[in-house]
């Protein structure tokens, strides 16, 4: 069970960082919606799980948060990337690409190899 969460958290963290990199500061709800949309609504995210992940990224210094006002005048907490976060996106994305590339070789049909 622990392992599964770790994998999930790792990928979730990358999704969060990547989304913040492309879209700039976002609040929690916005982030959750955006991740769902980007995944083509395949990922059914339990929004609640997003917050511990955000807290962790903040504790690790990859993102920071501040209170602001949304486009339709609601108070909301906004998250944005720090410098360390920007470096981390690149690093994690590269690692992830490498992992998927390796896995892809295993998963392609045997005849093509």
């Amino acid at each position: 069970m622990g392992e599964k969460t770790d994998v999930w958290q790792g990928t979730l963290a990358l999704m969060v960082l990547r989304t913040l990199e492309t879209l700039g500061p976002l609040h929690g709800y916005g982030l959750a919606r955006r991740i769902e949309q980007t995944s083509g609504d395949v990922l059914q995210l339990n929004y609640g799980t997003l917050y511990p992940a955000l807290l962790r990224l903040e504790q690790e210094g990859f993102i920071r948060s501040r209170w602001g006002v949304s486009e339709n005048n609601r108070k909301a907490k906004y998250y944005e990337l720090t410098k360390a976060g920007q470096r981390q996106v690149k690093k994690a994305a590269a690692e992830w690409e490498q992992t998927t590339a390796i896995l892809a070789r295993f998963l392609t049909p045997a005849g093509e190899a």
Binding site: H27, G28, Y29, G30, R33, N46, Y47, G48, T49, Y51, P52, L55, R56, Q59, E60, G61, F62, S70, N72, R74, K75, A76, K77
Partner: protein, 886 residues
């Protein structure tokens, strides 16, 4: 790195729970609002939109919980909770807390103090590089009736061993010396050593200022240099930086100072050398040995000492076998008075320096650990009683869903809190104990006076505190955890667990009593030994005042020495209130000895028979109050007559004049001419010489004033302190350039000789007393507790007709049974334990029945008194009230 940063944030998170909770609640609220807004925009009703938002979120509570756990460290959080809860419950029952904490603190404090001694004496490293590679070399001769470590290699042997031996990386010969050190106006006697060029190198010790003594310094004509101790630098030169531009005047000769040793270096001291000068507490001056070619060729053993450093990887036994082989060859070269038969003995330096006190240190640590165990038992017993009283609360918590592990953790946290408090208090107590201990310092245990609470000791205390609290807490915690919820619910309270609890508590009391018996028996045997030593017949009067006088090089001839002592003794005898004044070269209990060969006329003389020989002035026996048994004392004429007579002691008479009158018998001490007789004119009583515990040896006395260094003995009715200053004034009036000697009464020397015994006896006695007290407190507590648990039962018995005496007896019988079992167990342990302390005893058997009996009686009486109060309380129970409880 990132992980560490996150950890710090979470650690901080522990302390801002409330604010962070509010902040996150606001964030969630905003999340739901935003989501609801989106739902409404998509055409849902407000309620439906909010419902959808909540479903998507997955529950506000769960999210908050997950967030909270991520925010701080959950395990630390619950530990803090346990601690807070524990502190609260401990504060609620101050009586219990104070008893448990103080009991353990006494145990931990005593343990810490003793460990700091062990640390200073046995564990802390010596100020020499790798001291385990240092060895002493001896050349014992089995033909001489002296201990193995008395005979040291002669210089010729030393240089041959040094040349031929391959086991030694380095080797040094040195001699102890005492110098008159002239300092502006006054003269002091200072302990010194003449050392060769390898002395400091062998010890691997280097000066803090300047240099040590090298090969050039040992060349004739270059030897007027000195290395001084840190203490001397401080006392004479006031730590001045230009000390190397100064010099010292020793025996009228100037020595240029070339180095200052660091503060911890004072080798050799009395505890470093097996048969060195015992009055040397620390050496302060080192000068070159500077042997002449004639000295270097001397085959006969002198007064030097040889210390060597083994090559890495060479064992003592290997060095021993090599030195033995070399000595077989060298023995052939010996042709002096002592003849041949010289062997080899290599002894480890550490074994020699601390070996003799090691058993004592371990014994003290063992005894104090027993005290700690008893304290631990008491704390465990208290915790058990308390856990029984708290069964209702604990059962309720189990019923409400607290896990067993959680309950154990809670109870252990409480006992840890007690242990930590006891540890802190214990360190304070240890500080006090240590000061008392250092006042008791017998002065003959190496480096005991350097004991302090250093880091290692504190680390020891912390581990002991943790260990004791776990040890004391684990039994109650497990007992509670074993109790089933079902049992608790059906019994309606504490009843179900009382059985298991009291069994554990009974066992604890039995074990405690057994430990106390062991300690009491040990202390009893020590006390009896001490009393035996105190009551030995010393042979001299304790009130005699003595002072050592050392003549310097200005008194070169026997005539000069004789004139000086006749003058001094005459002047002292003329002082008011002085009964008799004498002098002797080897005073009893002054750690010096002289053995000589002798031949008795008309006796089957053995080869190499030896006796203690003394040169005394005629009034010596009267001054020391040594009684005459037969014949007469020396007269003044005897000291100047060409055929000087001899006085012997009873032991001598018994061994060598067994069936004849010793008076008129003849003895020779002349090694060349055995028929150079001296007539025995008197027999005096035996005198204990080296220690009070060793039986007197044959002793012979010759009359004379020709003494180089002597002890003056003065018999007077006046207070010693008043006489002391007059003696010193008289000495100064005769020769102001002689150093003031120390003035002691013979009683002081006896007290010094028994100091070690007093130290160990006091300590063991105090430990036994503390142990007894703790065990009695434990017994009292248990009996009180068991009476309070049995109030109802006792009430029913009384209602059914039991008399008050029956109830009292019921309680006393139980206490008696526990103590009795403890006593039996304890006696069995004592039987084994006292055998290990045989070496510490004097004049008393390790299984001395009188001691064992007194221990039994003491424990029985004290136990009876401790149980009487709860027993009387039981007897005063009002049956009606007792039946109404619960």
């Amino acid at each position: 790195m990132r992980k560490l940063r996150a950890f710090c944030f979470r650690l901080l998170g522990l302390f801002r729970g409330r604010r962070a909770d509010d902040d996150f609640a606001a964030e969630l609220e905003s999340h739901i609002t935003l989501h609801t807004d989106a739902g409404i925009r998509a055409g849902l009703t407000a309620e439906e939109a909010r419902r959808q938002a909540l479903i998507h979120l997955g529950g506000v509570e769960q999210t908050q919980q997950a967030h909270r756990e991520r925010r701080s460290l959950p395990w630390l959080d619950s530990l803090l909770q346990d601690t807070q809860y524990g502190l609260r419950t401990l504060r609620r029952s101050p009586g219990f807390t104070i008893t448990a904490v103080s009991t353990l603190a006494v145990g931990i404090g005593a343990c810490t103090a003793i460990f700091s001694l062990v640390n200073a004496v046995l564990i802390r490293s010596l100020p020499y590089g790798e001291p385990q590679r240092l060895v002493y070399l001896f050349t014992p001769n089995p033909r001489l009736p002296v201990p193995v470590e008395v005979m040291t290699p002669s210089y010729a042997d030393f240089f041959d061993i040094k040349r031929q031996g391959h086991s030694f990386a380095n080797m040094s010969a040195f001699e102890q010396a005492t110098f008159h050190l002239a300092m502006d106006g006054s003269v002091e006697r200072v302990s010194a050593a003449r050392v060769d060029e390898n002395f400091f190198e062998t010890l691997e010790s280097t000066p803090e200022i300047g240099r040590s003594i090298g090969a050039d310094d040992n060349q004739p004509g270059h030897s007027r240099v000195a290395v001084i101790s840190h203490a001397l630098w401080h006392s004479i030169f006031a730590d001045r930086a230009d000390v190397l531009e100064h010099s010292l005047t020793l025996e009228g000769v100037r020595y240029r100072i070339v180095g200052v040793m660091p503060p911890e270096f004072a080798y050799p001291s009395s505890s470093d050398l097996p048969y060195g000068n015992a009055s040397v507490k620390a050496t302060h001056i080192w000068i070159p040995l500077a042997l002449t070619p004639k000295q270097k060729a001397e085959r006969e053993p002198g007064s030097d000492e040889v210390i060597a450093r083994l090559r890495p990887g060479i064992s003592v036994s290997k060095a021993q076998s090599e030195m033995s082989t070399i000595m077989v060859r060298l023995d052939q070269l010996h042709s002096g008075d002592f003849g041949r038969g010289w062997g080899a003995f290599v002894e480890n330096f550490m074994d020699n320096a601390v070996g003799p006190v090691r058993p004592l240190m371990w014994l003290l640590l063992g005894a104090v650990l027993l005290v700690l165990l008893i304290a631990c038992g008491n704390a465990a017993s208290l915790l058990l009683a308390r856990a029984a009283n708290r069964m209702r609360e604990l059962g309720m918590r189990v019923a409400l869903g607290a896990g067993r592990g959680r309950i154990i953790r809670q109870l252990l946290t409480e006992s840890l809190l007690i242990g930590v408090a006891a540890g802190v208090l214990g360190i304070g107590l240890a500080y006090v104990f240590l000061h008392i201990l250092l006042d008791l310092d017998p002065g003959d245990i190496p480096r005991l006076n350097e004991a302090s609470l250093d880091t290692r000791v504190l680390l020891f205390t912390v581990s002991v505190s943790l260990l004791t609290s776990v040890l004391a807490g684990i039994l109650p915690a497990l007992t509670v955890a074993r109790v089933s919820l079902n049992g608790f619910l059906t019994s309606g309270g504490g009843g179900a667990v009382a059985g298991t609890h009291s069994r554990s508590q009974n066992a604890l009391i039995v074990v405690e009593a057994a430990l106390v018996v062991v300690l009491l028996a040990g202390a009893g045997l020590f006390i009896r030994s001490y009393l035996n030593v105190e009551s030995v017949t010393t042979g001299f009067s304790p009130s005699t005042v003595t002072m050592n006088v050392g003549l310097d090089e200005r008194y070169g001839t026997p005539q000069q020495q004789g004139a000086f002592f006749r003058n001094l003794i005459g002047k002292l005898g003329a002082l008011p209130g002085i009964d008799a004044v004498g002098a002797v070269n080897y005073l009893p209990l002054s750690h010096s000895e002289s053995l000589g060969f002798f031949w008795v006329d008309g006796f089957a003389n053995q080869k190499d028979q030896m006796a203690e020989g003394r040169l005394v002035t005629p009034q010596y026996f009267r001054a020391m109050n040594i009684p005459l048994v037969a014949g007469r004392f020396f007269a003044e004429d005897d000291a100047s007559s060409p055929a000087r007579p001899t006085i012997i002691n009873q032991q001598f008479a018994k061994e060598y004049f067994a069936d004849r009158n010793p008076i008129g018998g003849r003895i020779s001490t002349d090694e060349k001419d055995h028929s150079h007789w001296s007539t025995v004119i008197g027999v005096v009583t035996d005198v204990r010489h080296l220690t009070l515990e060793e039986a007197p040896q044959p002793q012979m006395y010759s009359p004379g004033y020709e003494l180089g260094a002597a002890y003056i003995a003065v018999r007077t009715m006046r207070p010693p302190s008043a006489v002391a200053s007059e003696i010193q004034r008289t000495l100064k009036s005769i020769d102001p350039n002689l150093a003031r000697g120390d003035v002691h009464t013979m009683g002081d020397l006896m007290s010094e000789a028994t100091a070690r015994r007093r130290f160990q006896t006091t300590l063991l006695g105090v430990f036994a007393a503390i142990a007894l007290l703790l065990a009695l407190v434990g017994l009292y507590g248990l009996m009180t507790y068991s009476v309070s648990c049995r109030t109802r039962e006792l009430g029913i018995r009384m209602a059914l007709g039991a008399q008050r005496t029956d109830v009292t007896l019921l309680v006393l019988r139980k206490a008696g049974f526990l103590l009795g079992s403890g006593l039996v167990l304890g006696l069995a342990c004592t039987w084994i334990a006292t055998r290990t302390i045989k070496a510490f005893l004097f004049g008393v058997d390790a299984h001395d029945p009188a001691t064992i009996l007194s221990v039994c009686v003491l424990l029985a009486v004290c136990g009876f008194l401790a149980a009487l109060i709860p027993a009387r309380r039981a007897a005063s129970i009002d049956p009606m009230q007792a039946l109404r409880t619960e």
